[in-house]
């Protein structure tokens, strides 16, 4: 099969076009708040569940010397808040798979393909829109955690670094989810495939330290993206300076996931749809 090559023309303006597409996606999010609220509901429920139901016991197990009950809940709130922030990020990234699938299965993406706009702009708009939505969701979840008694110790630089890290994680995983959305045959499948991303934070150091896991699970937890991402988030939130090697692993995973997602999205964009 012949592959169509993309020749840039004087008419495509990548930055302007990406911002135009970002505006479209934020407008859509404002018009259709259902999807955004749904992705926010999951981290909120997880936080409440893990603090008020499991926290009293798990907190005492996670933090040596802490008594079960109220002290355990407080300790577990500290331990789990960074993880729940990542659920807000992953939830937002999952919603972009649905957006991409809606555009691809409807006619509007076909229209964009017949126009002098680069695939990076058509798909980059939704990705940037997701970053904005994820940061808003993170702020809401963090606000809830603070209301429950969580006290972050980050300084101004720490907050800046944290915002940058979470934006990078959203950006990278959004490209992966765009690829999943474009390869889905229907909008329904597009909402299912990225669900595996939700499983990853559970199999990481996010809920309990990896040292307590059996060897195989522990190996997986230590070698998957969410453990270094969550550990770096945890350090930044407490105000400690994050471990250099862990931070590099977190950033490295983001670069890898983002690059694979972007390359796959670009090639899927030009795939023939019938």
């Amino acid at each position: 099969m012949t592959t169509l090559t993309l020749t840039p023309t004087a008419h495509a303006r990548p930055v302007t076009d990406t911002l135009t597409m970002l505006r479209r996606n934020l407008l859509r999010a404002a018009r259709y708040p259902g999807l955004t609220s749904f992705t926010l509901a999951i981290p909120v429920l997880l936080l409440l569940l893990f603090v008020f139901v499991f926290g009293g016991t798990i907190g005492a197990g996670v933090m040596p010397g802490v008594d079960p009950g109220a002290d355990g809940r407080a300790a577990y709130l500290d331990y789990i808040t960074p993880t729940i922030l990542l659920f807000a990020v992953v939830g937002a990234a999952q919603s972009v798979a649905i957006t991409a699938a809606m555009d691809a299965t409807g006619g509007i993406m076909a229209r964009f393909k017949t126009m002098a706009i680069s695939p990076g702009s058509v798909l980059g708009g939704p990705v940037l829109g997701t970053v904005v939505q994820a940061l808003v969701a993170v702020a809401v979840v963090l606000g809830l955690a603070v209301a429950l008694g969580y006290r972050p110790g980050a300084g101004p630089l720490g907050w800046l670094a944290l915002t940058g890290l979470l934006a990078l994680v959203t950006f990278a995983f959004s490209w992966l989810c765009v690829a999943m959305g474009l390869s889905a045959r229907s909008v329904e499948t597009a909402s299912n495939t990225p669900m595996i991303l939700t499983a990853l934070p559970f199999l990481s150091s996010g809920f309990v330290p990896v040292e307590t896991m059996p060897a195989g699970v522990r190996w997986f937890a230590e070698h998957q993206p969410f453990t270094p991402i969550i550990e770096t988030t945890r350090s930044l939130l407490t105000g400690a300076s994050p471990d250099v090697s862990t931070t590099l692993q977190a950033v490295g995973w983001c670069v890898l996931v983002g690059a694979v997602g972007y390359a796959r999205s670009r090639s899927l964009y030009r795939r023939e749809r019938r």
Binding site: T7, T20, R23, R28, G106, G107, T114, M115, A116, E272
Partner: protein, 262 residues
């Protein structure tokens, strides 16, 4: 065809395309002179949409050449895209946005200035009778209105070549008339139009030339009058029935009387 190559807005030679082992286009030749309206006719499944898909850079071709507005669709797709406007069969509008927002999105993507964009959008809304509904979400619009908005979005960038794939299918007579008037106005302004249609009297009224696609090839081409006199027919309906085999399309009419005529 009397025009030289440079007059041709669409120049298709020996176009071939297959999906798996199904040969959809088997050597299509088609020439559309700049500024004219050409109607592509053919039974369901003849490949009309595939031709439009290849010309609008959505589908890859397997053989032959296709040039649009002087640019090769394979080697210069960007230049082709900058010259064309496409209204396909699937509604290509954003349901969550309003009519105005859809059109302004197109104006931004064509890099029209703020004022120029607003003027263009308002003019198109008025031209197609959409001004009253313009600020309501498109999801609440009727099929006919969405079709008109679809065409308006195609026209925001003032394309020199416009492809319309069954633009009036499923519309009520009034909407059909609005769209036909719009095609005439575009043509009068010098835009080249290639449209596919199931309504033969529409081709008769609108098109300068008609091409009949059947079995993966163009089986007849000429002005509506030429085709009628060449086949001794009083209407394009008769020409169509004589030229196209009922067995070629999956949903073609299985009526045995049409086979006898053929």
């Amino acid at each position: 065809m009397t025009g030289t190559t440079t007059d041709l807005a669409v120049d298709v030679r020996g176009l071939r395309k297959s999906y798996g082992d199904q040969q959809v286009l088997d050597g299509v030749d088609l020439a559309v002179r700049a500024g004219t309206v050409t109607a592509l006719l053919g039974p369901n499944g003849a490949g009309k949409t595939t031709v439009v898909g290849i010309l609008s850079t959505l589908l890859a071709l397997d053989g032959g050449t296709a040039r649009v507005a002087g640019h090769d669709v394979v080697t210069q797709p960007g230049a082709v895209r900058a010259a064309i406007g496409v209204t396909g069969q699937t509604s290509a509008v954003d349901d969550l946005l309003t009519g105005v927002e859809n059109l302004r999105l197109m104006a931004s993507l064509h890099h029209l200035g703020r004022r120029e964009g607003r003027e263009r959008v308002d003019a198109l809304l008025a031209q197609l009778g959409l001004t009253d509904a313009a600020r309501k979400p498109v999801a609440t619009w009727s099929g006919g209105m969405r079709r008109k908005l679809d065409l308006a979005m195609t026209l925001v960038g003032s394309p020199s070549v416009v492809f319309l794939d069954e633009p009036t299918t499923g519309l009520d007579p009034r909407s059909r008339r609005t769209l036909r008037d719009e095609v005439r106005a575009l043509s009068a302004a010098g835009t080249t139009i290639l449209l596919t249609t199931q309504y033969l009297e529409e081709a008769d009224q609108l098109a300068d030339r008609v091409a009949v696609l059947d079995g993966g090839r163009i089986v007849a081409e000429g002005t509506p009058a030429e085709l009628k006199s060449a086949h001794g027919a009083s209407s394009l309906d008769d020409v169509f029935l004589r030229l196209t085999e009922p067995s070629t399309g999956p949903t073609a009419d299985p009526d045995p009387t049409t086979q006898e005529v053929a």
